[in-house]
Symmetry: C2
Subunit: 538 residues, 2 copies
């Protein structure tokens, strides 16, 4: 992955002409060029790793697997949030590790943690590095150095039990690697977050992630049955039983622990038979409210598709502006939809099952006034569903601020939450003289509620881009907390959401989780500054 953006250079997406027109109209953008600095101009912290610890690390993993060259350090300095990219593109590499260590297996991970615990060295576990919540930056203050533990070499398919539909996978396997191994056995994990191409099994589990098809296949926490963790205090293992009444669920403490308790080295996950058929339909609702009601009806009847996505009016206008022909705007006008809300409804399974489920949703969608736009537009959406982060690089190159955030609440609370977060983002960015376009979609359905995923676009405020977004993010987070919604439905907590976590756990709940951490990580070396410990933003 390029150190200052997403993916490889060959996949870079230029800003399409339609996007420029839309940006001018929507956010008053005028063309600027805001390229990243050169690699050699990124300011890195002085190497501070205790040489004795470094020698120990070399003894454990081999000299070739302890790297402190400039590119490796910069590439592990930040995740892939807007703040991360703005910082590194501006030459701020202050959160880079002293070294990146590449262990080969669980035992080497355990050895590295023991050495670091003895030496007081901070450890940041690292999968694909795609965190958008500041989950992988290192913290040096108070430690005798800080390393990043890149788990790429833990890429074994440990076991696939097709009879029980369970796969035990190494933490370092990327989404495509895991899917390829499973596909060879006619199986799929069905976990496709937007970071799918780079993110890893360990990262999925450590961040409690959800993917685009999680309405059908289930969030990662619904798929994890067993796991193995190396913590500074020792090893933990959870056996992959289908269900248990044996007390508090230890598994649910390790899932979502974001590297702050220890390192997840492998996970046993429920897998699914690979679908024989896939049908991705595009629809347009007369309003966001009508679409939400139809989606609620489907979710509560157990009739939702594998992928369910509903854009609000502004996101739909943006999609039509960017790539209007795909959606058939003339046809939509003909059908009386002047402010359509675009939706994707995908079904996966056996050919017969897909046909039946498509018919079942069709009735509900039609009754809600939705217009069917065909599988062509649906397929185009599916083909481009991992593209947004590439486009972001092009926007950052042209002076556009773009970031996403997400939450979830009950069906009853959804409309008010949608309005409140939109208002918070608008107000925070308008008051800075950079009126935004705020787009939103519902992307994960549950019988009791759904998630909301917001995208904000605005002109960058030159020289104060970080403060500009932090103010907007804080306003949105306050609105989320005030509405009793979750501060994150699938991006995790990391550094960025930590100040809001207590709204969900309460102070006592946070204390309880910290006590747990103190047991597993007594010297506090594991991913400091994230999740359970709020600290002022860098």
């Amino acid at each position: 992955m390029r150190w200052w953006g997403w993916g490889a250079d060959r996949d870079a997406a230029p800003l399409p002409p339609a996007a420029e027109a839309m940006l001018r109209a929507e956010i008053g953008w005028t063309p600027r060029t805001t390229p990243p600095v050169a690699l050699q101009d990124v300011a890195l912290p002085q190497l501070a790793l205790d040489p004795a610890v470094r020698s120990e690390l070399v003894a454990i993993v081999g000299a070739g697997h302890v790297c402190d060259d400039r590119l490796t350090r910069v590439a592990h300095a930040v995740g892939r949030s807007l703040i991360d990219l703005l910082r590194v593109r501006a030459g701020d590499g202050s959160t880079a590790p002293d070294a990146v260590v590449f262990p080969a297996d669980h035992d080497e991970v355990a050895g590295v943690l023991a050495a670091c615990a003895r030496g007081g060295v901070a450890v940041v576990p690292f999968g694909g590095g795609t965190s958008v919540v500041g989950g992988v930056e290192t913290v040096h203050e108070g430690f005798a150095g800080a390393i990043t533990l890149d788990l790429a070499r833990l890429d074994r398919v440990v076991d696939v039990d097709g009879r029980s539909l369970l796969a035990t996978l190494g933490a370092g396997l990327t989404g495509p690697q895991a899917e390829a191994a499973l596909a060879a056995r006619g199986l799929t994990l069905g976990h496709f977050p937007q970071s799918f191409e780079f993110a890893t099994i360990g990262g999925f589990v450590a961040t409690r992630s959800a993917g685009q098809a999680s309405t059908g296949y289930g969030r990662i926490d619904a798929l994890v049955r067993g796991l193995r963790m190396a913590a500074p205090a020792g090893d933990l293992a959870v056996a992959p039983v289908p269900a248990s009444a044996a007390g508090p669920a230890l598994r649910e403490l390790l899932v979502g622990s974001e590297g702050t308790l220890g390192v997840i080295t492998q996970a046993t996950l429920r897998v699914h038979r690979a679908p024989a058929a896939t049908r991705t339909e595009a629809w347009a609702f007369p309003s966001f409210a009508a679409g939400c009601e139809a989606f609620r009806a489907l979710a509560q009847a157990g009739a939702a598709g594998t992928i369910m996505r509903l854009s609000d009016e502004d996101e739909s206008r943006m999609a039509l502006g960017l790539d209007g022909d795909r959606w058939g705007p003339a046809y939509l006008r003909l059908r009386g939809q002047r402010t359509p809300c675009l939706a994707i409804v995908a079904h996966e399974g056996t050919a017969r099952g897909v046909r039946l489920r498509s018919l079942r949703t069709l009735r509900t969608l039609r009754r809600a006034g939705a217009v069917y736009l065909g599988t062509g537009a649906g397929g185009t959406w599916r083909d481009g569903r991992f593209a947004a982060p590439y486009l972001r690089d092009a926007l950052l190159d042209r002076g556009v601020l773009v970031e996403t955030l997400e939450t979830a609440t009950t069906w009853t609370g959804l409309a008010a939450l949608h309005a409140a977060v939109r208002a918070a983002l608008h107000e925070a960015l308008c008051s800075q003289g950079t009126p935004p376009l705020v787009a939103c979609h519902v992307s994960h359905l549950y019988p009791t509620g759904a998630s909301l995923y917001f995208t904000a676009l605005a002109r960058q405020a030159p020289g104060r881009e970080l403060e500009q977004w932090r103010a907007a993010k804080a306003a949105a987070s306050d609105a989320i907390a005030a509405h009793g919604a979750t501060i994150t439905h699938h991006h995790a907590v990391g550094r960025d959401h930590a100040p809001w976590l207590h709204h969900e756990t309460g102070d006592l709940g946070l204390d309880a989780l910290r006590a747990l951490k103190a047991t597993l990580d007594p010297t506090g070396i594991m991913n400091p500054g994230k999740l359970l410990f709020a600290r002022p933003a860098a």
Copy 2:
């Protein structure tokens, strides 16, 4: 509930003549009469509650809600396991509390906990008192008294949100009370453990229970979204968001905490629309293995019924022996089934949905060689599905040892686990001269595995009944642990399973959970001797 058995006298079930014949044939039983002692002959511990604390409790809940009369103390002395009933029937009331306190609401619970924490008084939260793992007995040693906190008065329906299918229910509501309140709104929780008539919402959540229809409606841990807990260190609340990526799941620590962390005072649960139609079918498989394979196919295709229950050969023989006509034994012989394995497959939902799902299962069941026995036999099973504990009282009155235990594992591990637990129970009881009948059924299906529920029947060994069963239980538990299965799929840990819990959590995992407890319950007054703290059996 009668202090020495199950339910009210009016519902008592005498031992049917067919049962006597079966017991003679299967376990060499000869009629004996083994009645319980009289209430006044139950030996109770000397009242030891610190009078200052008692005065505080009276000030909080009112004098009428602090009870220490003989009947109330005895009725709260034990749960409803075999060991519990053998002890109390023999006059051992040593685990009775000094007083039973009936708080009215969350704040009174919090006040009671504060008073007890200050005074060093042990507290046992108590719902329906139906624990079969020693979950509600009091421990006096090391405390300035021990009280039971009976939550029966926390019986408010706090809120029902039909739009989001969420109900917030007081912890003290019994199963029937909760269902009645929901039925009035066209809803159901769908949680029907065998203890349904007496067990409570708080007990369901605190013990992470599963019910007979959990294959369809989901275990209680899949239904809990939010909850409120009063702990000695303060209050905890989890908001009912549909899903979250905000770190380790605090909710999953409180669910299954069995009163050892604090008192669950209310829970927000996912509810379902009440089914318009119900169809309960009886089937017979040519073998347990064939039935398991068919059940696996259905669970993995997402086509399982709401209730799925498959008896092994011995349990089926017992059912046919007890109530043969119901199942049509002549018809079974005619269809070539000499050792049939009886199954229940129930569908609930809309009339059309039930019809379609029944057709879908039918194909799979027929292909596995199953013979359809009609909805008459199915309906009879449904009518009697809460009856077993009543029958147990009649068996205990006649010198029969009867107890159940349960576990769960992957589909791949199921057959070996079934054989191992059967062998362990047989060997342990045969070696004591009391050869058992060991019956088993599969009762909860998951895509990755299923639960096994064992019933053991044997002649009581006069004068050493407790040792007799403890040896058998230990042998079965060792076999479960050796197979990597869970020590409990739906009965919880309590006192009885605590010595085996470390097989699931590891020692470090147990330490982590104990650190959590130390934060929420710093003086260790909450339900001592259960869950996280193994102690020698009483």
